[in-house]
């Protein structure tokens, strides 16, 4: 038996990580920090190369013959195609403004999560292959060869970026790290390195129109069941039109709203609203997904998934599209749709049929965000609301990354909340609006095998929620993104179990005074309301 070391020797054990230069520190794939690889079936469905079984902790990733050349050509092609990529590769002066702005860096302390260093993982290879200094001076010019270890590092860290763009807010040159990550993921796809949680939903969506691959009858059934729940709570019977040709408006929301908790309550809010104002709308069982996991895959898949929404709008003959509370759907619409699939000339510039408001901002994409639509209704006094029906809750608002930083949607959701909620408290200034912290699970990283990393990445967000929970008793975190609704619920469960998560339109649904409704004793979750007296006086 070996001897127990004396205390003096034991005390020499250092918990400090080894100091090796970043280029020489390979990644270690520990459980909870990486996502399962793309399944062959999903790759085949999307026409992606190098279909095979593999797993990130494997030594051999079964890369294709000449994989370095494939990446080199892919990189070259993209540098020519996207001027922004070339600029982002050349322009960084390493000022460090972005360094401590990434939620993954704040939650892990891992320097390769500093946006500057994450981009450097790609830049170092760019220098070696595409700059004279890098070709001649190599390491001295910050350049390095693309090896298997470097590729593994790309996979590890570019799937540790949620493309939330918080760092870009602070970059004096406006370098968009999200687009660097998008390019890195595209390059990895060229050699078959990717994750299943993105590819399977993208493949399902491409085939059936939504992430889970639900067929029309299942969606119908789920929506009908939600209508029954609404009737239980409000006494109002509602039917949701599906695939109705000639409706004025096509409503598209993330499919999770139709079957996942707590998105279903947001969904109830939408349809209560549409019933309340007598909107002529339809939903589609084919364009039944607002989410676009193509954004996290490659440009071709993003374009295809976006196009199906417009193809369906054309088929049904609607005038314009109303979009639900989704995150990255809006990034695709606001930043890429117009040049990718637009302009959607076969649709009309959106006008609210209730207020007559022209949505000038959407005249090219023909797609209006539901918080813009509802805020306009409230502004024109078209809704009968009783905010006291949300008095049993103390609410805060999480600015979802994409609607806030990709489209500047700050005021509309707040204006709605102000009208439907009496107890509202903002989180601190450097944790909201354009400085909002990501949920830590965006860009298709919301999978369970990645839980530890998600909890680290979401820690800065949870930390700010904890503050308003302790200071003001906040017990409900509202947001306008389906991934948020799913992942913030898990994040809260770990860090602050007393806080639940809701979409803004769930709170609208609670407050709406419907024609012919019965006495409301519970909210849409069938939880008891606070004692409300004199409800009939409410307007």
């Amino acid at each position: 038996m070996s001897k127990t070391p004396p205390p003096a020797e034991l005390a020499k054990i250092s918990h400090q990580p080894p100091e090796t230069p970043w280029m020489e520190t390979p990644v270690e794939f520990r459980p909870g920090t990486w996502c399962y690889s793309g399944k062959p079936k999903a790759l085949e469905a999307l026409g992606l190369p190098n279909v095979r079984e593999w797993s990130p902790p494997d030594e051999d990733w079964k890369l294709p013959e000449g994989w370095q050349k494939i990446i080199y050509e892919g990189f070259k092609d993209r540098l020519n195609k996207y001027r922004s990529l070339k600029i982002f590769m050349d322009i960084c002066v390493r000022c460090g403004a972005c360094a401590d702005k990434c939620h993954f860096f704040l939650g892990t302390g891992d320097p390769k999560n500093m946006p500057v260093l994450r981009a450097e993982l790609l830049r170092s290879v760019y220098r070696k292959d595409f700059t004279t200094a890098g070709k001649i001076l190599g390491h001295f010019a910050g350049a390095r060869e693309l090896t298997v270890d470097v590729l593994k590092e790309w996979f590890y860290y570019f799937y540790q970026c949620t493309e939330c763009r918080r760092c870009s807010v602070f970059c004096p040159y406006g370098i968009d790290t999200a687009e660097i990550t998008m390019m890195a993921r595209e390059l990895l796809h060229l050699v078959g390195v990717n994750i299943n949680w993105i590819l399977e939903p993208a493949s399902n969506c491409s085939r059936t129109g939504n992430h889970l691959g639900l067929q029309p009858h299942t969606l119908r059934d789920s929506i009908d069941s939600l209508c029954e729940d609404i009737e239980d709570v409000t006494g109002v019977h509602i039917e949701v039109p599906l695939n109705k040709k000639g409706a004025e408006i096509l409503f598209i929301t993330p499919s999770a709203d139709a079957f996942a908790d707590p998105g279903i309550y947001t969904f109830m809010g939408y349809i209560l609203l549409f019933e309340h104002i007598g909107l002529d709308y339809t939903m589609s069982t084919y364009a039944s997904e607002g989410g676009n996991f193509g954004l996290f895959t490659n440009q071709e898949t993003m374009k295809k998934l976006n196009a199906k929404m417009y193809a369906e709008a054309k088929r049904l003959g609607v005038k314009w599209i109303l979009g639900g509370e989704c995150g990255h759907m809006w990034r695709v619409i606001h930043q890429y749709m117009d040049t990718m699939n637009g302009p959607a000339d076969f649709l009309e510039a959106p006008v609210s049929p209730i207020t007559g408001t022209k949505f000038e901002n959407a005249k090219s994409t023909k797609m209006v965000h539901i918080t813009e639509f509802t805020a306009d209704l409230i502004q024109h006094n078209k809704l009968k609301l009783d905010p006291r029906r949300n008095d049993h809750r103390t609410v805060s608002f999480h600015d979802s990354c994409n609607p806030s930083r990709a489209m500047g949607l700050f005021e509309e959701p707040r204006y709605i909340l102000k009208n439907v909620v009496n107890n509202f408290h903002e989180m601190p200034e450097n944790a909201i609006r354009e400085q909002t912290f990501c949920c830590g699970s965006g860009t298709g990283l919301n999978t369970d095998e990645y839980m530890e990393m998600r909890m680290r990445g979401g820690f800065p967000r949870a930390n700010a929620v904890k503050y308003v929970h302790e200071k003001h008793g906040v017990d409900l975190l509202s947001c306008i993104c389906a991934i948020d609704r799913a992942t913030l619920s898990t994040l809260m469960q770990y860090w602050i179990p007393m806080v639940e998560v809701a979409g803004v339109h769930e709170l609208v649904g609670n407050a709406l005074v419907m024609e012919g409704e019965g006495e409301r004793t519970t909210d849409l979750r069938e939880e008891d309301l606070a004692d409300v007296e004199g409800e009939e006086d409410a307007v």
């Binding site: 360094a99 401590d100 704040l106 999770a256 369970d448 820690f459 799913a486």
Partner: protein, 170 residues
């Protein structure tokens, strides 16, 4: 001077050393970020500095277990999801001993102090034992998160499947 007064008097330096020892378990590039004072810009470092002070005060005042548990939870909840082996995650509690011994090297040789230190260090050991329970609870919570999330993701579909199953049986 007795040990308690000594520790009170040197509290700031001891806590500073304890903080540095904890921070040194993270990559050195992170240390500048971890020392920022804004609790929202630096949630990790600010939680560490706030909670170790609470723990230190509790150890000095001989507070009971239930009072220190929330602080231990706030620290270990973070460590439980970071890149630490269980031993590494728990190590920060024991590094308080090193912080005290480094700063009170001379004083500890004085009569009476050494005996009090043995007692004080046994309180740190007790804190560590409690820490194991807290750490394990956090780890177990991770598995619960996965199950609950899966159920939430398919809430309506599960409800439908259960309903259909119920019909078939009955």
């Amino acid at each position: 001077m007795d040990l308690k007064s000594l520790l009170n008097q040197r509290k700031v330096t001891i806590l500073g050393r304890w903080f540095d020892l904890i921070v040194s378990s993270y990559p050195s590039d992170a240390s500048r970020m971890l020392k920022k004072e804004d609790r929202f810009a630096n949630p990790l470092g600010s939680t560490i500095s706030r909670e170790i002070e609470t723990l230190f005060d509790a150890l000095l005042s001989g507070a009971d277990a239930e009072q220190v548990k929330p602080s231990l939870d706030r620290l270990l909840r973070i460590k439980a999801v970071q890149d630490f082996a269980p031993s590494e995650a728990m190590a920060f509690i024991f590094s308080l001993k090193e912080a005290i011994r480094t700063h009170l090297a001379t004083e500890l040789r004085e009569d009476g102090i050494a005996d009090s230190l043995v007692l004080f260090e046994s309180r740190i050991d007790a804190l560590a034992l409690m820490g194991f329970d807290v750490y394990m609870k956090c780890r177990e919570a991770i598995y619960q998160l996965k199950t609950d999330e899966l159920k939430r993701q398919t809430h309506k579909l599960l409800e439908r499947a259960n309903r259909m199953g119920g019909t078939a049986q009955g």
